[in-house]
Structure formats: C-alpha cells, structure tokens
Symmetry: C2
Subunit: 153 residues, 2 copies
DNA sequence: TTCACTTAGTTGTATGTGCAACTTTTTTCA
DNA sequence: TGAAAAAAGTTGCACATACAACTAAGTGAA
C-alpha cells in the first residue's frame, strides 16, 4: 500500500500551500482543530486527540499556540475538574469562514478528472483500510472510524 | 476528499507502531530513507527531498540523526562540489533487512478484506489524485509522480 | 471508606517539519 | 570572460509530533 501515505502527504502539503497563498496564516493542524470545533464546540482535549489521531501531548501544544493567537479558549469542565473543554472564539470563527472557500476550491482541484462514482469508490476503499487499522494501543482507547471529517477537506 | 489525509496518517501511525513493537528503534521517516537508498544508493540529498515530498532542510536534519546513528554516510560528489551523495552503511543495510518482514506483514494487515482488483482500483485512483497536485512551488521543481515507492509499504 | 487504579492534561526531551536567509559552487548569457 | 542567476546544502526559528514521567482528579472494589 505504498500510495496512501504519499498521497496523503501530498494532499496535506497542497492544502497547506493553498492556505498560505490566500494569506491565511494558519497550519493545517490548526485548520483541522477549527473544523472539528465547528462541528462540535466545547470538546474535551482528549476527544479531540482521538478524533484527529494525535497524541494528547501534541494537542496540548497545538492548543497552546492557538490560544496564544486567540483562536480558541480552554475552559475547565464544571463536573469533571480534570477535563478542559475547548471553544472557538469570535476570531476563530472568522478564520473558519475565511478558510472555507479555500478548501472548497482546493478540494475541487484535487478531485479534478474523477467521476462522482470514482470518488465514492475511493472513499469506500479508504474506509475499508481504516477499518483494518486498530490504533487502540496508540490512543489507550478502542479506535472507531469517525464519520465526521476530522480533516477540513 | 476528507479521507485521504486521515487514512494516510492512520497508516503512518500503524506502521510506526509496528516498527516499535518489533523493537526496531527507527522512525517511519528514517525507514523511508533507508528504503529509498535500497532502491538507489548514493542519491543526492535534494533528489531525496523531492521524491519523499520533504523540504531539503528537513532532509538535512533527518540525515544528521541517521548519520549520528551510523545508518548512512554523506559523501561529497567529486564532479559537483555542491552535492552530497548519501550511501547506506552496513548497519543501515542490516536495519533494512530487519524491517522488511515487518512491513510485509503490516501491509497485509492493512489490505485485509480488499480484493486484488480493489487494491488496483485504489492505487489507480490515488495516482489520479497525485496527478492533480502540482507541488512545483513547494519544491522549486516540477512535480513528477514517482513510480518507485518512496514509502516502505 | 480507603487505597489502588484509571483518566485528563502538562512538561521534558528528542526528532520531524517548513520557511527564510545564508554560503558555496555551478550555470547562464550578455 | 565576468557578473547575474540558479542550485545544493546548512542554520535559525517556530511549530508539530511522540513518548515517558509527572500532577491532579475521579472510580471502584475490598
């Protein structure tokens, strides 16, 4: 399966470059976080780590940067004092709006020449591959395929 | 195309975990370099950066680590004094042999439940996607689809 | 109820990553 | 031929990443 890793990396770089071209000073990693919070605001950090396939320590640092840049805020959960829930700020929401058309255009470019059927086939095959991968060990939790697109494209 | 990036990341993590489980103290990035040199020893750093879709500065640092660990050596080119060519060491070749069965087993696991036809279809669709992505700007060179698997799986 | 276990998040450390700016060497072309 | 442009590699910087070890807080069973 030599192609998945490389294609994934290329798509990642392509999208990151598009953000840059449009003057959006934001990494793909941060864009992914914004998209995730757009779908469900106030997620605990650990849930975000699992959905995005990142280590919780990595998430700590990405959120440090994003909080410094006023894109999100961390608010401790009232019930469970261990948890911190992450919320979009007004500024974060603005960035989200700015990046939306960029990703729509970029996704079109990436899919150029593929029929609707081919796209459906590709996604279904990738889902099958995901189903074969159990990252339980990595995340200390059973892996579940996330129907929400944790990637903004 | 929300699935490519995430699936790629999952495969990457899965493979990295397999290396660890088998006691191979090596990052996927380093494994990719070893595999590349196995196919063509003595590549200049810049070529390696392009094929692996990494920035040349990144390659500099990965190779620093690998040279420190005696997996590869850098030898200046006789003709073009700007270039450094990278060669596998005996130790590097040993690591390559050790990781081969790990990747074969892991690839089987990732592809479980997919027919030969499905695998062919998946690869052909991913190639189409790659064809849509022009990373010229990123690499200061026109992009070409690399038929060699720059990924060890 | 208490003490071991688990869970959420952070920090230290090493590596991986891209970009800009830099040096050295080669190429181009006027 | 000589100056400008290009190319290969390195370094400073900021961020991303995983892992181990840590703190604080909740859970569960004797």
């Amino acid at each position: 399966m030599p192609w998945i890793g490389k294609t994934g990396k290329m798509v990642h770089l392509f999208m990151a470059d598009k953000l840059k071209q449009h003057g959006l000073n934001m990494s793909m990693e941060q864009a992914i976080i914004l998209k995730l919070l757009h779908e469900e605001d106030g997620l605990p950090q650990n849930d975000m780590a699992i959905v995005t396939n990142r280590h919780k320590a990595t998430l700590t640092r990405v959120l440090d940067t994003m909080e410094k840049n006023h894109l999100v805020v961390r608010i401790p959960d009232k019930e469970d004092k261990r948890m911190k829930r992450v919320y979009l700020t007004k500024h974060g929401r603005k960035h989200l709006e700015d990046m939306r058309p960029v990703f729509i255009e970029a996704a079109d470019e990436v899919q150029k020449g593929l029929t609707k059927t081919e796209i459906k086939t590709l996604i279904s095959l990738l889902k099958k591959v995901q189903g074969n991968i159990n990252l339980k060990k990595l995340q200390h939790k059973p892996f579940t395929i996330c129907e929400k697109s944790s990637y903004p494209f």
